[in-house]
């Protein structure tokens, strides 16, 4: 009887030079010039290889990529509602388990990857994502985080940083900082309550080799895994398209983005700067923060200082949440 368990072992990559040449996410997609999420999609597809099924909950990586009956995915891909990426992946995984067991399909268990945005992962898609993790399906859930609902013209999402200017959080005399709330922490949400999960990591387009290796490590794990990939969005964050990688690097150097792996309870850090640059260095490149006063920046700095102590350490918003207005 065919055993429906994954046995593949995708080898890690050493240098940018050794990054494999084959492309499974090919040119010819309608994403903006300099798109962070598109870059991470290319790297993930390259890392995963041909035996892969992608799922695209609604978001830029669905609408901008799969448009007008043409798609850039050379491997099977299916659109899902932004609510149910995790659930559809669970169904596909369950199907392959029984189909392989019954001999209706043969060969290696496919890589099943949900390519969801921040909304599709921890806002409207949280329930399905969490259930996929809890049930232990052998699939990888990727949250490519461009920190807003960008496909609909840049609205705030739960991972949008405090103080961001989005079309749902426009700064004005009544609400000077624009976004008043502090963001959710997706990897901690997964680590914090899903015993079946063995590997969670954060990654960034700034370090493609690290990203590829983390994708491969996740895909080699038999069971549910989660990657939180920082993918700057020139249009949404309002910076010049050529600076996508620079912005991503600065996020790490200022502590706005932290690079780590969690494996069965153990944390390991990557690219942790000896001395963190002030948050202001990161903010000044981006049009979404130009309205912030020094006081606002101080609050953001306080939040980042608490965060960089280490993942898994609870971080409070440095300001009391505004009272609900009756």
């Amino acid at each position: 009887m065919a055993v429906a368990i994954k046995t593949q072992n995708l080898a890690p990559v050493k240098l940018i030079r050794n990054v494999p040449k084959e492309e499974y996410y090919v040119p010819g997609h309608r994403t903006c010039a300099g798109c962070g999420p598109a870059l991470q999609y290319k790297l993930v597809a390259k890392a995963a290889g041909p035996n892969t099924i992608f799922l695209g909950p609604t978001g830029c990586m669905y609408v901008a990529n799969a448009s007008y009956l043409c798609t850039p995915y050379t491997v099977p891909w299916m659109h899902t509602q932004i609510t149910n990426g995790g659930a559809v992946a669970s169904g596909i995984e369950a199907a392959y388990k029984v189909l392989l067991r019954k001999g209706k399909r043969e060969g290696e268990f496919p890589n099943i990857i949900v390519m969801a945005g921040d909304g599709g992962s921890v806002d409207i898609g949280l329930q399905a994502m969490s259930a996929m993790m809890y049930r232990g399906h052998d699939a990888l859930f990727i949250c490519y985080d461009n920190e807003a609902y960008t496909n609909t013209g840049i609205q705030t999402s739960p991972t949008t940083p405090y103080g961001s200017n989005t079309t749902f959080t426009p700064p004005g005399p009544a609400i000077p900082e624009g976004k008043t709330t502090f963001p959710k922490d997706p990897p901690q949400l997964v680590i914090g309550g899903h015993p079946a999960v063995k590997y969670v990591a954060t990654a960034s387009v700034a370090y493609p080799v690290d990203l590829i290796n983390k994708v491969r490590k996740a895909l080699n794990v038999v069971g549910p895994t989660f990657l939180h990939i920082h993918s700057p969005c020139p249009k949404g964050w309002k910076f010049d398209a050529s600076k996508t990688i620079e912005v991503a690097r600065l996020a790490i150097e200022t502590g706005m983005w932290n690079m780590y792996e969690w494996e069965s309870g153990e944390y390991r850090y990557q690219f942790r700067p000896k001395k963190y640059k002030p948050v202001r260095e990161y903010l000044k490149l981006q049009g979404r923060f130009t309205h912030l006063s020094d006081a606002h920046i101080a609050k953001l700095q306080a939040f980042v200082d608490a965060k960089v102590k280490g993942p898994g350490i609870p971080v409070q918003a440095p300001v009391p949440t505004p009272p609900a207005v009756h």
Partner: protein, 108 residues
Amino acid sequence: MFIIPKDKEVPLGCVTPAPVGEQPMMITGNWREYRPVLEPEKCDLCMNCVVFCPDACFQLNEAEDMVVLNEKYCKGCNICITECATNALTEAYELDFDDGVVRLEKPF
């Protein structure tokens, strides 16, 4: 029965074949205003441009041991120029090139 114009046909259940190599139905080369130009002698094949390009437009041509730009799709974001380790790439205004094309077709 219904008459469906040829160009408007939609496959069963909106299932479309996967592309091979590139997606010719979505040419994006006409978006750019600047084109990255390579000075081969400065290039040490560090592959930054190949890896960091969101549209996979720089590819290594094994035979000539050189990176080649896929001009049909390059959107001119210039990330490659920013990330090139040896400043072998510079931007050049698209219309200066005789085959330079800026936004002539309506990109949907």
